[in-house]
């Protein structure tokens, strides 16, 4: 659900990074935070365990610039990837305007990717959405590692809705901004289309 503050001329959108544990969701936000102009970002908040696993969420507010006199502000969230944190994932997912599904490209994580994607679908349905209607994008992360699944196989397994996708090595900052921009474009286009109805 986008929030448009017409008084302040601001468009506020919520983008959620979803995916299995240790796939690189938090790394995406950390890379964005470290590379964005200080004037365009707020604090990066991480509610994590002592071992730096996401416990509840990470949060990063970001200004993407101005369009038709409207400031476009994106609130980026990650969910905890570990299977048993499903209640937290549902809370974070509420009201999302779009989702980035971060897949771990390593062969041994394929099952975890599939499970997480199914979990995303189920949680969206519970909230009256679905991957057919909610803007979403897939990031195939960790492409720099040696034991990765070919993109064609990832595509056939994970991209049922033929949504835009990007390869990334988030730890090196590669593909991180392409993914963010791709998701922002889908969300803003969706918002514009909703307003035209």
């Amino acid at each position: 659900m986008s929030f448009i503050n017409y008084a302040a001329r601001e468009i506020n959108c919520k983008l959620v990074y979803y995916g299995p544990g240790l796939c690189g969701k938090t790394t995406n936000l950390q890379q964005i935070y470290s590379r964005v102009d200080p004037a365009a970002k707020g604090k990066l908040i991480s509610l994590a365990t002592e071992s730096e696993r996401t416990l509840f969420f990470d949060f990063l507010p970001l200004d993407l610039g101005t369009i038709r006199g409207f400031k476009t502000r994106f609130h980026l969230y990650t969910v905890p990837g570990q299977v048993f944190y499903d209640a937290s994932r549902k809370l974070i997912l509420k009201g999302a305007d779009g989702v980035v599904f971060v897949a771990d490209s390593q062969v041994e994580r394929m099952e975890a990717n599939i499970e997480s994607l199914e979990n995303l679908g189920e949680n969206l349905v519970e909230q009256g959405h679905g991957l057919t209607t909610l803007p979403h994008i897939i990031q195939y992360n960790k492409r720099d590692l040696p034991n990765v699944v070919p993109v064609a196989d990832l595509q056939s397994t994970l991209n049922e809705h033929n949504t835009p996708w990007f390869e990334a090595s988030a730890a090196q900052g590669i593909g991180v901004f392409e993914t963010l921009k791709g998701a922002a474009k889908l969300i803003l286009t969706d918002l514009k289309n909703k307003m035209a109805r």
Partner: protein, 164 residues
């Protein structure tokens, strides 16, 4: 879920209600946050607070608290008090899920804040209900104007925004 459009006069009504709450509760600041962690309006007097982070964390706390209530078989908890050494927070849910937040210190008391918040919840709830009725009817000139303006955004403008 429908998108929420707040016009200048909407923000003015909310700011007025929050300002009165802040004054009557002798608080430092009062805020209204949507359930998704976005700041809808504030009472002013919050210049030294990171309201964006505050809004996100308040929504997260309230969401977690709501889930805790369900585990106990409760419909929800009406308020949440966070006590610090000098600054305290009182959070309460308004009908529809928005969250009312009051920051206060030793100049006020939990009893006074809770009492004033109870009254403010009704007022803020009525204001938000007015917006919902207006937005559902789709007939309000303000939201229609805003929607038209946003609908005219071109794909090229979106590309330009993201190319920088």
């Amino acid at each position: 879920m429908k998108d929420l459009i707040l016009l200048a006069e909407d923000v003015e009504r909310l700011t007025g209600a929050l300002g009165r709450l802040c004054e009557e509760a002798k608080g430092r600041a009062a805020f209204l946050v949507d359930p998704n962690g976005r700041l809808l309006a504030d009472s002013g007097g919050a210049a030294n607070l990171d309201t964006t982070s505050l809004a996100s964390l308040v929504a997260g706390s309230m969401a977690a608290t709501g889930s805790l209530a369900q585990i106990l078989g409760e419909r929800g908890f009406s308020g949440l008090f966070l006590e610090g050494a000098r600054a305290h927070l009182y959070l309460a849910v308004v009908e529809g899920g928005a969250i009312l937040v009051v920051v206060f210190d030793g100049g006020s008391s939990l009893g006074l804040v809770r009492f004033r918040v109870k009254r403010a919840i009704d007022e803020v709830g009525r204001i938000l209900a007015d917006f919902a009725v207006r937005d559902q009817s789709g007939k309000g000139p303000g939201p229609a104007r805003a929607a038209t303006e946003l609908a005219e955004i071109t794909d090229e403008e979106i590309d330009n925004l993201l190319s920088s």
